[in-house]
Subunit: 352 residues, 2 copies
């Protein structure tokens, strides 16, 4: 299995996106984003996406170097047309705009339309935290016919519709970064279980008839062309996460004009980003004292047997420290695909 150092990998992936037509700066936004996801242990949002993005630049689904324009909005609100530039480039610009607006008005929000896949949503919350702001963001899949079932439904209807809530703390290296799918898991986890031949836990999946199943293969198309669905998280109270997924459709899909699940407008991600400037409400020192006290309060012992209480973002920081030191282990198939993406735009494979 290839072990790749983060610095070398960032350069390699950036080279690929630059060769696809992006400026060095915009290529680095995509490359750094994908490698950071791997460093954090979220491999499903990492360099495994490279080939797909490059294929989209070939078929016109993505347009490297397309201009990113503010086409609407008012005061604290901005509508950003990404014109099918890379999602990471558009979403990064959108959060920058939300932060600028928040600096002026106390709050700022930006929505994106015509925007590619933006990757790991927590990354944009981290931008707000780095600017001393609270970040809230969510993303939908316009036009999807469904991977995740609504509570009580027998068929998938929406995407995994993730949310981030990111809070700065008195330590700039340790923001609170909550980043979660409103489904019980991402599709990637089910795919891994299927490939390993292991069962899924209860309350994750239904089969194509809407019955509970532990068989990961039931999520995928069967011989009759039907497939199962992931459930919203929460089990018997899954109506809560189902409701959150619908709220994501309103904020990211309808408010942005990108489109909602099941609709005609399809492709990429609908995006909603919100930045909240803490000093507009209260002194930063007071905020840090109150929120720091809360983090100490909730993470103190006693813990349940074999468990501990972490703050959101801590598992990712632990994994990142390890992968920065030891290198990133990339499976053979993912590495083959990354190099195939490079070959499509004339970039020679990185020696590993």
């Amino acid at each position: 299995m290839p072990i790749v150092q983060a610095d070398a990998l960032r350069g390699f992936i950036t080279d690929i996106f630059e060769a696809s037509g992006a400026s060095r700066e915009e290529a680095a936004i995509v490359g750094n984003h994908l490698v950071e996801a791997n460093l954090m242990g979220h491999d499903s949002h990492g360099i495994v996406r490279t080939l797909g993005y490059i294929q989209q630049t070939k078929d016109g689904g993505l347009v490297p170097a397309a201009p990113i324009e503010v086409i609407g909005g008012k005061g604290a609100a901005a509508v950003v047309d990404v014109n099918w530039n890379f999602g990471q480039v558009g979403a990064t610009r959108a959060m920058e705009i939300a932060i600028e607006r928040a600096r002026e008005h106390g709050l700022g929000a930006a929505v994106c339309r015509n925007c590619g896949h933006i990757g790991r949503i927590g990354a944009y919350g981290q931008m707000a935290a780095a600017a001393g702001m609270i970040g809230i963001a969510c993303v939908n899949n316009p036009g999807t016919t469904g991977l995740v079932a609504p509570f009580g439904g027998a068929k998938g209807r929406m995407g995994t519709n993730p949310f981030t809530f990111t809070i700065p703390t008195d330590n700039p290296d340790e923001p609170f970064v909550l980043d979660f799918a409103t489904s019980v898991a991402a599709e990637g986890k089910v795919r891994v279980a299927r490939n390993k031949g292991v069962e899924m836990p209860d309350d994750y999946l239904i089969d194509s008839n809407g019955n509970p199943t532990n068989n990961p293969a039931d999520l995928y198309q069967n011989e009759s062309g039907e497939r199962g669905a992931l459930l919203p998280f929460g089990g018997v109270v899954g109506y809560k996460a189902y409701g959150l997924a619908v709220a994501v459709e309103a904020l990211s899909g309808a408010l942005s004009g990108s489109g909602t699940a099941g609709g005609d407008r399809a492709g990429g991600n609908g995006v909603f980003m919100l930045a909240i400037d803490i000093p507009a409400f209260t002194e930063r020192g007071e905020f840090d004292e109150l929120f720091g006290g809360l983090e100490d309060h909730v993470t103190q012992p006693p813990f349940r047997e074999g468990q501990e209480v972490l703050t959101a973002g801590e598992p990712e920081r632990r994994r990142m420290a390890q992968r920065l030191a030891d290198g990133i282990d990339v499976d053979e198939e993912t590495w083959r695909q990354v190099c195939e993406g490079g070959a499509l735009v004339g970039v020679a494979p990185l020696e590993v």
Copy 2:
């Protein structure tokens, strides 16, 4: 069991709060809020609160007719000091301010400090929806030492920290109103189960040693003075709702200056309210078309056996139609307490 008509009940409860020192208008805000909660079937947030509020006016915890002042903020952001007026009065004013700010800036947010118990949080989201805006709000319990355990923790550390996400639709009578505790259930459900002598489902409770339990009595103080805790919702992925509960502490507790769980500043509710003005982003007709299409998409059949897919707010509208027609059934003990609250301020019992 007393059956009370909504109109008569509103008048009676309003009379009680007026007699406690509130203006007729502010008393009606509290009375109407509590009765609406009963109409919707959320009895735990309804008239059962009357006696407690009245007792607080006697011991100084609540100050009827106290001035509600904007003491800080900037642009789209406002800090509201409720000066211990009733929480419903303060939170209603705060959402009005958030809506005014959003009308001007596209977004508006208000936080409340020195604010009593605000009741059912969805009510404030409904105000935003009635103004044609998306409403997001959450509330914490400053200083609480804990009812709900963090994910992995053996002891309760936070309150039930509820959130609302409210979306207007093309039918003003049918907004999307998501209103959920980040815990698996409100404490009231456990109390009811204990009183009935029935078990709780799995993944709701831990006992005072942090072990899973189905016995509702384990939530409450035992002979050694220890108690169990409610869990965040989500079971094995309960870290998601635990994270949301922490985000509520940041928004409602720290940003407002009210205080966070486990801290020195205690009492009442910390409140965060956000209004998002749709026309600042996109035409209302287009928004309604996209969001209406989504609601049709997710609520269509097929359903899981014995279930259906509802939109958030629909169960409450069904219950409200029934209770408006048939009257509100109030249990004897609750009715006795309501009348006791009236007696404390010299209001004669309503004949039922």
